[in-house]
Subunit: 218 residues, 4 copies
C-alpha cells in the first residue's frame, strides 16, 4: 500500500472539520452584510418622515443584500452537495477550499460596492467578477476531488455524476460572464439575470430526470 493511500484513509474523517469551517464562514458572510445597512440616527422632529424616506433609500442596499444572500445560498447548496460525495480531504483540496472561502468572504465587500454604487459599471463588474471567481474555484474543487476518484468512493460514485456536477458548477461562472457583458449596456440591470439560476437548475434537473441520470443531485 502506498503512503498516499494511507494518508487518504487517515484524513477521511476530517471532512467534518472542513464542513465546520465552511459552514461558519457561510453563516457569517450571509448574515453580516445586513449589519452594514444603517439608517441615519433619528432626528429631533418629524422622525416618522425621516424613517419612511430612509426605508425607501436603503432599497438598493437591501436589493443587493437579498441577491447576495440568494447567491450564497446557491453556493452553499452546491458545496453541501459536493461534500456529500467527498469521503476524505487532502492538502490540495484543503487549499482549494481555503482560497474558495477567501473569495466567498469577499462577497460582502463586493455586495457593499454594488449596493452603494448600483448604477456604475465598475461596481457591477466587481460583484460579477467576484462571483465568477467563486464559481470557478467551486468547479475546480469538484474537478480535483472527482478526477480519477481522488477523494470520492469509486463504489458509490457514478462517473456520470462528475459530468453532471461539472455542468451544475458551470452555471454561475457562465451567468457571471453574461452579466459582465450586459454591464456594458445596463450595469443596474445586469445583476438581475442571476435570478434565472433556479430556472436553469430546474431545466437541467428535468432533462436529467428524463435521462434517469440526475436523480440525487438536483
Amino acid at each position: 500500500m502506498s503512503s498516499q493511500d494511507t494518508n487518504k484513509r487517515k484524513l477521511m474523517m476530517d471532512v467534518r472539520r472542513v464542513e465546520a469551517l465552511s459552514d461558519g464562514i457561510f453563516a457569517i458572510v450571509m448574515t453580516l452584510f445586513v449589519l452594514s445597512i444603517d439608517l441615519p440616527a433619528p432626528p429631533q422632529d418629524n422622525a416618522d418622515e425621516v424613517l419612511r424616506e430612509s426605508l425607501v433609500n436603503v432599497w438598493p442596499q437591501m436589493k443587493s443584500y437579498l441577491l447576495s444572500f440568494f447567491l450564497l445560498g446557491v453556493f452553499w447548496v452546491i458545496h453541501h452537495r459536493q461534500l456529500h460525495f467527498i469521503k476524505r480531504v487532502d492538502s490540495g483540496y484543503l487549499w482549494i477550499n481555503i482560497i474558495y472561502l477567501m473569495l466567498v468572504a469577499l462577497v460582502p465587500f463586493s455586495t457593499g460596492v454594488l449596493g452603494d454604487y448600483s448604477n456604475i459599471q465598475d461596481a457591477a463588474l466587481v460583484f460579477e467578477f467576484n462571483l465568477l471567481c467563486v464559481g470557478l474555484f467551486q468547479l475546480a474543487a469538484w474537478y480535483y476531488a472527482t478526477r480519477d476518484f481522488r477523494l470520492v468512493d469509486p463504489e458509490e460514485f457514478d462517473p456520470e455524476r462528475m459530468r453532471i456536477g461539472l455542468k451544475l458548477n458551470l452555471i454561475i461562472p457562465a451567468i457571471s460572464l453574461v452579466a459582465m457583458g450586459l454591464s456594458f449596456i445596463n450595469p443596474y440591470r445586469s445583476t438581475e439575470i442571476y435570478i434565472l439560476i433556479p430556472l436553469i437548475i430546474w431545466l437541467l434537473s428535468r432533462r436529467g430526470v428524463s435521462n434517469n441520470r440526475l436523480a440525487g443531485s438536483a
Copy 2:
C-alpha cells in the same frame, strides 16, 4: 424504487449540515446586534455623568435587543424541535430553510430600526412584519416536511404531532398580526405583547398534557 426515494435516503445524513448553517446564523444574529449599541466616546471631564446619562439613553436599544434575543430564542427552540423529527432534507426543504434564514438575518436590521425609532409606527411595523414572515416560513417548513411524511419517519412520527407543530408555529404569526394592529394605537407598547409567548406555550402544553398528546413537544 423510484429515483425520488433514493434521493431522499441519500440526503438523509445531511440534516447535520443544515443544523450547522442554521446554528451559525442564529448565533451571529443573536449576538451581533449588541455590538451596534454604542456609547459616545468619553469626554474630557465629568465622564461619570456622561456615562450615567448614556446608560439611561441606550435603554430603548437594549430593550429591543433583549426582545429580539428572546424571540430568536423562541424561533431557535422551535427550529431545534422541527429538525429533531426531520430525518432527511431535499432541495425544497433546503430552499425554504435558506429563505427562512434570510428573514432571520434581517432581524438585527429591523431590531435596529425599532431601537432607534421606538415611538414611530413604521418602525414597529417593520419589526413585526419581519417576525410575521419568519414565523410563516417556519410554519411552511414544518408543513412541507411533515405533509405525507415527506421528510419524517412514519414509524416514529405521530400525525397528531404535525397538528400540534402547526399550532406551535402559528403562535408568532398570530401575535405579530395582533401587534401590527396594536401599533396603530400605541407603537411603543405594541411590541411588548410578544412576552406573552411563554404563557401561550405553557397553556398549550398544559392542555396537551391533559390530552396525553403534547408529551415530547413541550
Copy 3:
C-alpha cells in the same frame, strides 16, 4: 413509563445542538470585541509618531479585551464541563441556557463600556454585574440539570460531583461581588482581582485531589 421519561429520552441527542449554538455564540463574543478597537486613520505626515501614540492609547481597551477573553474562556471551560455530564436537555434547561447566552452576548457591550470609561465606577459596576449574572445563570443551569439527576445519568454521576460543580460555579459570582465592593475604593483596579481565578481553581483542585474527589473535574 411516564410521558416525562419518554420526553427526556427523546431529547437526549439534542445536547449536540445546544453545544453548537453555545460554541457559536462564545466564538463570536470572544472574537468580535477586538474589531471595535480602532486606531485613528493615518494622517498625512508623521504617521509613525501618531501610530506609536495610538498603540499606547488603546491599552485600556486592549486590557479590558484580554480580561474579557480570559473570563469568557473560564465560562466556556465550565460550560464545556457541564455539558460533558448532561445527557439530555428539556425546555427548562434550554431556556436557562438561552438567558445565559443572552447575558454572555452582553459581555462585549460591558467590556466596551469598561474599555472606554476605565476610571469610572459605574463602568466597573456594569462589567462586574454582567459577570455576576452570567455566573449565577451558569450556577442555576448546573443546579437545574443535576438536582434529582434530572438531566444526568445516575449511573455515571457521583452526587459529590454536583457539590463540587456548585463550588466551581460559585467562584465567578463570589469574585464579582468582591470586585463590586472594591469598585467603591478603586474602580480601575477592582476588575484586576479576576486574575486570581486560576489560583482559586488550582487551590480547589489540590484539595479535591487529596480527597480523591475532584478527579475529572479540574
Copy 4:
C-alpha cells in the same frame, strides 16, 4: 488505575467541542476583517471616477487582508492536523488553546494596523509579532500534547511524527523573526516573505517523502 488516567479517558470525546470553538473563531477572524474595508459613500456626481479611485486606494488594505487570510489558512490547516492526532484534552491543553485563540483573534486588529499604516515599521512589527506569538503557542500546544504521549494514542502515534510536527510549527515563528529583522530595512516589503511558506512546506514534505517519514502529515 490512577485518577489521571480516568480523567483522560473521560475527556476523550470533548476534542469535538474544542474543534467547534476553534473553527468558529477561525471562521469569524478569517471573514470579518473584510467588513472593515470600507469605500467612501458615493458622491453626488462623477461617482464612477470616485469608485475607480477608491478601488485603487483600498489595495493596501486588500493586500493585508489576503495575506492574513492566507496565514490564518496555514494556522487552521496545522491546527486541523494537530487535533487529528489528539485523542483527548485536559485543562492544560484547553488553556493553551484558549490563549492561542486569543492571539488568533488579535490578527484582525494587527492586520488593520498593517493595512492602514503599511509603510511604518511599527505596524509591520505589530503584525509580525502577533504571528510570532500565534506560532509559538501552536508549537507549545503540539509539544504539550505529544510529550510523553500525553494526549495522543501511543499505538497509532509515531514519535518521529512529533519531531516533524515541531519542525512544521517552527516555520511561522522562524519566518516572523526574519520578517521582524527585515522590517528595519523595508517595512512594506518585510511582510511579503510569508508567501514563501508553501515553498518551505513543499521542500520539507519532499525531504520527508524521500525519508518515508512525512507521509500523512504533508
